[in-house]
């Protein structure tokens, strides 16, 4: 016990003295929260629309007014030339072209149906899908009113068949930061756990002090605990600091029990530090450790559901998430913070991550003992 105390004392002096580590630990959560939460948003605002009105009729003007009235659209150009519209799309001045063909109104009156064309820049498929959905629903809405008007019946009666109303639970205002902040916090905790811990251990190999440590009476388990415990403490501190920032900067809801969140984080970190230890035992330089850490981090983070919903991934990708600890923690963090889930709701996650931690730590310790 005393030996571990001596190692911890040394580690904390070294961390305190490191010119990069300490400032980074304060700056990282602030920057990540401020930049990522605002930038990595999928909210659609300011869809730039080019309107190609070849009809110039009463109906076409009504349709255009619908888009003008919507907070999501910004009419950037208004022409009657196909070439102009196409140019706007090519030069990335417009996201979508709405083309109303000539004789639109006439055709509608005579045949009771007419077509408009929507051309969307689909370089970003996610955005394109959303634009398509928004635009179509505005048109459909207008169409419904038109039918009601033309058949001379009260609008409500005619469209009574099925009406969809929305109520968004757990995040009623569809506030994107409420969704992002918990995810970013997970990112933060994970980065400290994997990258910093693995680099720290490998550093001793790189500068050669590990050889000296190995001839002292320090036991392997004492060294491992002494090396990993500081990062366990720091990561939990960072989680608290990040939550505090999220509360004052974004006023994120904290519906559930924070104690439960920290309890889960404590176990989660064991798994993450285990991964860090494993990486450090198969690498000899900080450069290698950094590279391998990034390899895993990128896969874990992109697969985790931080940016894109796991549910929309293909089945095989969802299976990969079974061994992705980040996915568990992101889900649990959102559940506890936004939904107020209790222990019973996250029991399955808790057991899974605990089993994960036990397996990975044993594997890492085994590997570490063999190689050093």
């Amino acid at each position: 016990m005393k030996t571990i105390g001596h190692i911890l004392e040394k580690e904390f002096i070294q961390i305190r003295r490191n010119r990069v580590m300490l400032p980074m630990m304060i700056v990282m959560p602030i920057v990540q929260l401020l930049i990522l939460v605002h930038a990595a948003t999928f909210e659609m605002k300011h869809i730039r629309m080019h309107i190609l009105d070849l009809d110039k009729s009463g109906i076409s003007r009504q349709i255009i007014n619908k888009f003008k009235g919507s907070p999501f659209y910004e009419i950037i150009n208004f022409t009657a030339s196909d070439a102009d519209a196409e140019n706007d799309l090519l030069n990335n001045n417009a996201d979508v072209i709405l083309k109303i063909p000539s004789d639109f109104e006439k055709k509608l009156a005579l045949e009771n149906k007419a077509k408009v064309q929507i051309i969307i820049n689909a370089i970003n498929a996610t955005t394109a899908g959303l634009i398509n959905a928004y635009t179509s629903s505005i048109l459909a809405d207008y169409n419904k009113n038109l039918i009601a008007e033309w058949t001379n019946a009260p609008a409500l009666l005619k469209s009574i068949s099925i009406r969809t109303t929305y109520s968004f639970w757990y995040n009623p205002e569809l506030n994107y930061s409420n969704f992002m902040v918990p995810g970013i916090l997970v990112l933060l905790v994970t980065m400290i756990g994997v990258i910093m811990s693995s680099m720290n251990i490998v550093r001793e190999k790189e500068i050669g002090t590990i050889e000296q440590i190995n001839v002292t009476p320090i036991k392997k388990y004492q060294f491992i605990i002494g090396k990993l415990l500081p990062f366990w403490i720091i990561a939990l501190f960072e989680l608290g600091f990040g939550l505090f920032l999220g509360k004052i900067l974004f006023n994120i809801p904290i519906v559930g029990n924070l104690g439960l969140l920290f309890a889960f984080a404590s176990v989660y970190l064991l798994a993450i530090l285990g991964i860090g230890l494993f990486i450090s035992s198969v690498n000899n330089t900080q450069q290698q450790a950094m590279f391998i850490s990034w390899f895993f981090m990128v896969i874990f983070i992109l697969m985790s559901g931080l940016f894109t919903p796991v549910e929309s991934m293909p089945q095989w990708a969802q299976y990969i998430n079974i061994i992705n600890p980040v996915a568990y923690f992101i889900e649990v963090t959102r559940m506890i913070l936004l939904k107020g889930s209790g222990l019973a709701d996250i029991k399955k996650h808790f057991v899974s991550i605990a089993v994960y931690a036990v397996i990975i730590i044993n594997l890492a310790v085994f590997k570490y003992r063999k190689t050093n």
Binding site: G5, H6, E9, V215, P217
Partner: protein
């Protein structure tokens, strides 16, 4: 010098696959002795030293270090030896005092004891005014002297020195050897490897390894007589050449 063997090695063999790094080494080192362990690069010195320090286990043979068995009691061996590696082993980003506190603490020394001994040591080395300076700000010679002092701080029975003076200027090397003599005078057995043949002359006894075997072992003067050589350098060259022919 008392005739108590603190290192007892009999037929020590270490194999890595088909390669035999140490071939039936047999020797004894006595209490308070300065034992020079010489050999060309790749002769198997480091392998042997690692086994004696409990870092690596031998393939066969009987090995006792400080009275403990090298197969089963490596933890006890580690408690009773000091070690200074070829690679610099103090923490560059800790101060002199922090390094001493860390290593002495690991060996279980008490706080008050550490404090007192630190003061004596640093005063003797004339480093007391630098005690709160980071190791990385010190010149190499000082670092090496400090590393040695830290290795014997807990007063081990044996200290293993792996090429402790490589890259150090002649004056500092001289001072370094004075420290080694002092340690030996206080009863610490010194087991040292070196490539400087003038340093071999300072040893009480010397063994010379060639290709995994001990080719010669005696006092420097006896060795010179036996090989009809002027200096240890000539002895070493003759032995190495004999092997090559």
């Amino acid at each position: 010098m008392e005739n108590v063997p603190v290192i007892h090695v009999e037929n020590m063999t270490k194999k890595f696959g088909d390669f035999t790094a140490n071939d039936k080494l047999t020797f004894e080192v006595f209490k308070g002795e300065i034992f020079g362990f010489l050999g060309a690069n790749g002769a198997g010195k480091t392998t042997a030293m690692k086994i004696l320090c409990g870092l690596s286990s031998p393939t066969s043979g009987t090995i006792r270090v400080a009275g403990y068995d090298a197969y089963t009691q490596t933890e006890m061996i580690k408690k009773h030896i000091g070690y200074m590696s070829q690679k610099f082993s103090l923490y560059e980003d800790l101060t002199i005092v922090e390094n001493i506190n860390f290593y002495a603490g690991i060996y279980g020394l008490k706080k008050t004891e550490i404090k007192e001994k630190t003061q004596n040591l640093l005063t003797k080395l004339q480093l007391w005014d630098e005690k709160d300076k980071l190791i990385k700000s010190l010149p190499l010679g000082w670092k090496q002297k400090l590393a040695f002092s830290v290795a014997v701080f807990h007063e081990p029975g044996i200290v293993f020195l792996d090429e402790p003076t490589s890259g150090v200027d002649p004056i500092t090397r001289r001072q370094f050897w004075e420290m080694i003599y002092e340690a030996a005078y206080h009863g610490i057995t010194v087991f040292v490897t070196t490539h400087y043949m003038d340093e071999a002359e300072y040893c009480d006894r010397v063994s010379i390894m060639v290709d995994g075997r001990i080719e010669a072992m005696d006092t420097p003067s006896e060795l010179k007589k036996k090989y009809q050589a002027e200096t240890m350098n000539d002895v070493f060259t003759k032995l190495a050449r004999k092997q090559n022919n």
